[in-house]
Symmetry: C2
């Protein structure tokens, strides 16, 4: 296509609020424009890339036997009420009434609609397995939509759903998706990791996320050279041993004037925080819960939710803490507490003689031994930290890194099919509740991750298969006939050969054209300049910035054979 | 693909409420399922067709230089308030508040968002023309969503928008769309008419609709053999002359006990309704308006709106009529009326000695002459009827027919660009408000119209390019090895040759398979049966039901060369 006839509104500067490189560059390259908080328009180049990504997704889904549907975004309330998610999604779901006063929402995901179709249409085990997917817009009223395409209020998702007779069937459907997702990311040129993940609001026991390590990411993962990788919400680790030399002594109160934080207590007592039990208070169904965690550890919200089996919780207010413990948040502990549930992190199991708050302002206790001085249920509650030991290889140290979640697959089990009565007859004629999986890929996330992995200060160089064009042809001096004619000739030849070329036929200064070409994500540039007199043009690989002189007559062939990845 | 592995939930019966053939068949063939009022899920076969239709649209839009965008469905209120359409669309627009309390709506169309991009990004006449399009979901809270895909609350539309420097530019962009739309319908195999249309809420002076004549349609068009075609909202006609022999006499009241309707008055007076002026009362900005129209004519709402320059109106209530005219609706007329605006249809211009109400219950007037006995503004207000004379050829009779609107194109002019301040600098450096066009195609409407034009009681036979598969291969007896092996062989050969074949590998009775094949819209069937022994199979054209024996070795070649349209 000819640049002069296209709408490619490039910018020299990105808006100041654009923090991530991908956000800055997608704006500068004229891929997207913001319409509102978490709401973006795709312009020509951006949508061209997005269409290529969706086509790759479609092909890989078809390859595993997925059947493409297209479900409504407008959803009546009743199916969401059947599964309890009308309430569960809370304000994240856009809810409103139609002109007849009926409750409507915009689909945040489509387990309910798919299960509704399955229960009406599937009757026999012989119809299983089914894999149904769609590529469609999802709506989520995020509390804090992030600028850029990372956390949007409407976004494009390929979501698929598998229905099987039993867990063994689900394992097969799940594996197919796992492999298809790998194929999709591989084709999109992404470097990614598959990590164990937390299932959250979706439910189900097993889930994996596909993560692209990037500082622009909003998730955190723990990874090990041995191959272990998990979302921090799920990650486990081994701790270097802490030696509690002595036998368990009796708790002993001591004065700690104005000491409230772990750091202050450590400095005051000259004791490492690993010898302390930190006390945190939460309200769970209007009852207090006391959490004990090692002084140098952080509580993980998702793990707490799991330990509470999904029951909602919130941090206790200062007055609630004083009411139940008789002291401020910085001076409380587990010793002597009655009638309050205590959850302790596994890292405190078997420890002795710890420091804790005394439930009296300005006082702490030493020699507190969990299990002896207070009764607690133990659970995995802490967030893994860089430098801890991998549980899988039991040797190497874990690294915690930021990551962009580009996909998430779930073994849902029977949660939805049971709630909605989706059953089939098995071979023996018995009614069986189907087993379901759910699988999602974010199209904008793939584009964002691809930009983050393929950019520099001057612009982006997207992997060829998802770039809006494969090559840009730039005559250095458009007003010079020889440059123009040669560029035109190469352009026509490439079109004929099926190379998706963008021809920069604008009569602009070379600097402007080179800057734009460097910016807009096209991986290769053919520069038609002075060397035309020697019958040569230049192929430039945008990612390496290396240039190669080639004969004009060979440019298409060599571009394809030597450069295209 | 293999039928046994697909989800094609065919039904022997359609739900009773499905009236249109397209609705019945799309349900029966497993193309769609209803989720709520005016809300449908596309299943595998339906979406496969829809994707083919959208691909044809995309190709033709790209051919005229259209650039594909993808705009948000979530729209902030402010841009709609700028053009006044936040109020204008009323309850048709889904409106709600987000969690931050901001007003949000779902896009019913996208003039505002496109114009917002244009005003921010376009600076110079050199950037014009631009044609921007998208294929995307629109949301409209219809008062009476119809069952089936005809009047939906969410539907897929290709909408495009042109920006030009002046009207001459708009003419070119408009013509390009006109031609592209014809190409799209031609490729989709539709028989259609292009008609002059009313612009409605969109505004602008000129618009055309693309109409498929069908009893399932919700629109009405007047058509003439000479080529004239117009939506009834816009259509004009010539009337056979009515002779009012005498000179204008003076109005004379006469008793008409209990006579209220035109029919009753005609029977009572033995006078044809063409000799009567019917009186209708409307409230326009809280003032009464009296409309005079010939007794045998119908008022056209769209024409009344035009005559009132878009000002909102409603029928007057009975008590309002009595308040202003001193009589009931069946006994009112224009004579003696003071201080009330009177609009008369052009067909009453120059007429003499008509019958009208006397503004006194149970009395009418004879010898009423418009222009003499009352003052009226004349306007085109009536609905054209079958049998009236075409204004274009002035010879032939018009036919009024029901039609499905499959596209609508608008010359919007400066309405949106002016309201939103979308200007560019012209060659002389002067700021010029851009001139805009807007163009829409409904994807579900194309599918619906194609079914209506290509169906019978047993099912549908879609045009090959938009059918979900090009051919279905049916072994008559799957358990017979020769049938199965030959079918399998033909299937593989077709796949290899790029023919999109559905292989019915189900071990079902022949009757079931034939019935399903007849139903699901695939235009050709290859039947593998007894003649295999002679080295032959049968090609069946679903639309004509004709069968042709062909040699197995030639089936793919002959299907392509002799059958594919």
């Amino acid at each position: 296509m000819r640049w002069s006839q296209l709408f490619i509104p490039t910018l020299r500067e990105a808006p100041a609020e654009a923090e991530a490189a991908s956000h800055r560059l997608l704006l500068r390259a004229g891929y997207i424009r913001q319409l509102g908080a978490g709401i973006y328009s795709f312009l020509f180049l951006g949508w061209r890339s997005a269409l290529r990504i969706t086509q790759i997704i479609r092909e890989e889904m078809d390859r595993i036997g997925g059947q493409e549907f297209f479900l409504p975004a407008l959803n009546p309330a009743d199916i969401w009420q059947e599964t309890g998610r009308w309430e569960q999604f809370g304000e994240t779901m856009f809810k409103f009434k139609d002109r007849a006063g009926r409750d409507i929402c915009l689909g945040v995901t489509h387990e309910e609609v798919m299960t509704d179709i399955a229960r009406r249409e599937l009757r026999s085990y012989r119809q299983l397995p089914q894999i149904w997917y769609q590529i469609q817009t999802k709506f989520r009223d995020e509390a804090r939509p992030k600028s850029g395409l990372m956390r949007l209020r409407q976004f494009i998702m390929k979501d698929s759903y598998s229905f099987d007779l039993d867990e063994a069937g689900l394992d097969v459907s799940y594996r197919k998706h796992y492999d298809a997702y790998c194929a999709i990311y591989d084709r999109c040129g992404l470097k990614y990791k598959v990590v164990e993940a937390h299932s959250g609001a979706m439910g189900g026991a097993v889930s994996h996320e596909f993560m692209v390590i990037s500082d622009a990411g909003e998730d955190q993962v723990a990874i090990c050279e041995c191959g272990y990788a998990a979302n921090l919400e799920k990650a486990k680790s081994l701790l270097p041993p802490v030696t509690d030399n002595e036998a368990a002594l009796s708790p002993e109160e001591f004065s700690t004037p104005n000491i409230k934080t772990i750091e202050e207590l450590a400095a005051f007592t000259r004791t490492g925080p690993e010898y302390m039990a930190k006390s945190l208070v939460y309200m769970v169904e209007s009852k207090p819960l006391l959490v004990q965690i090692r002084g140098d550890h952080q509580l993980n919200d998702a793990k707490l939710t799991d330990a509470l089996r999904g029951v909602l919780w919130r941090p206790a207010h200062p007055d609630e803490i004083r009411q139940y413990f008789g002291a401020g948040a910085g001076s409380i502990g587990a010793v002597g507490v009655r009638g309050i549930r205590i959850l302790a992190d596994e890292a405190l199991r078997g420890r002795k003689n710890l420091l804790t708050g005394a439930n009296r302002d300005h006082f702490h206790l030493r020699n507190v031994t969990p299990g002896e001085d207070f009764d607690a249920e133990f659970a995995d509650l802490r967030t893994v930290q860089t430098g801890e030991i991998c549980t899988q290889c039991q040797k190497k140290k874990l690294t915690v890194a930021k990551a962009i979640e580009v996909g998430h697959i779930f073994k849902l089990g029977r949660r939805y099919c049971e709630a909605m009565g989706a059953k089939v007859l098995d071979a023996a004629g018995k009614e069986i509740t189907m087993v379901m999986g759910s699988y999602g890929i974010g199209v904008e996330r793939i584009l964002t991750a691809a930009v983050e992995q393929n950019c520099d200060e001057e612009g982006m160089f997207l992997p060829r298969v998802i770039a809006p064009f494969e090559v840009v042809i730039t005559p250095v001096n458009y007003s010079e006939r020889e440059h123009r004619d040669t560029a035109e000739e190469i352009y026509r030849e490439m079109l004929h050969a099926g190379v998706d070329a963008l021809y920069d036929d604008r009569d602009e200064r070379p600097g402007v054209k080179f800057k734009d070409a460097d910016l807009i994500g096209v991986p290769y540039r053919v520069t038609v300049g002075k060397k035309v007199k020697e019958g040569k043009v230049e192929i430039r690989d945008r990612s390496t910035r290396q240039t190669t002189d080639v004969r004009i007559s060979e440019v298409t062939k060599r571009l394809r054979s030597e450069f295209f990845r």
